[in-house]
Symmetry: D2
Subunit: 106 residues, 4 copies
């Protein structure tokens, strides 16, 4: 957190996922492995439906990471902004709603 | 369809994506790169919302690959099965609907 | 089906949902009732999260109707088009893929 | 926040959508009309793909209402809970995350 202290929007509270950094990197490495697995399946000319099954599993894993990051963001950044004042709260909620809308639509 | 008759699900006609194998591998490599990019963002303690934006872009890229694979599957395997007979058609459509349901829900 | 016989793209086979017309109308009536229920909840100033829970249930019911209609379409119209020839198959699959893409993205 | 103290979850501050009650009821009436329109299309034996197009439009309208209600909830209830204290904030965010997860998955 030291490089972060003097700079950003929520330096004092830290980002919501900081305590879980190792967990998120581990989950993203698994997802990276799933992307490589899909390449191997295409390379091997595996059956389309089997590839789609793995692709849906990867999408769900990615979605779970997104929901986890969002939850951390709400617990830390949104709560801190709400306590800071109305303008800060409004800004963080606008931003969070845009991210939620993208998650819902993607 | 003669080349299909003796062989089993679609070896002879090939899977729907075979002609586009290189394209799909290229797109999946980009997606693998996006998974690594997300790890770097978490490692660097980037802002949660910026990570979520990249994660949604990655989900959309993955979804586009899934829809592309499904389209190839429909054009080749489903059409071939429909021409083979009612039982083959029913089996392929059951399978395709399960894959579509997973895409819709994920 | 008589009014349909001489006219459309797949009159001979009929639309995929025809045999299940009554079932689909019944399910859509339930969904219409859910829309009225949501209005009552807003009118009564029910708790936002409770309204969202009902709204998600309604979205899932609607999605299930969509997947059912799509399955019927595939079983009837897409199979019939595949048997009619390559051009008919290509046209129906283009159309089905657009519908599937909308279901996936909505 | 004093007006909130004695009352329970958010009666005094009001739900997030209260100011927009008439707007939400109007939008839900339109959605109810879309559900009736879909029944008419099935009754008339309209083409499956045309029904699916209308169904997707209805799903998107419903999703937009859900995102609007969620935004109001965040602006009012979540912000109020954050100011009330850590336990209240945690409870409201748990609840909001469950609603968001259902929106993302449906």
């Amino acid at each position: 957190m030291t490089e972060h202290e003097a700079t950003g929007h929520d330096e004092a509270v830290g980002h919501g996922y900081i305590d879980d950094k190792a967990k998120y990197i581990r989950r993203l490495k698994l997802i990276e492995g799933q992307a490589r697995g899909l390449q191997r399946m295409v390379e091997n000319e595996d059956y389309c439906i089997d590839i789609l099954t793995q692709l849906s599993a990867m999408t769900r894993a990615l979605e779970a990471v997104g929901l986890g990051l969002l939850e951390g963001h709400m617990r830390h950044c949104v709560v801190a902004a709400a306590r800071e004042g109305d303008a800060a709260a409004a800004e963080k909620i606008d931003e969070a709603m845009k991210a939620i809308t993208r998650l819902v639509k993607s």
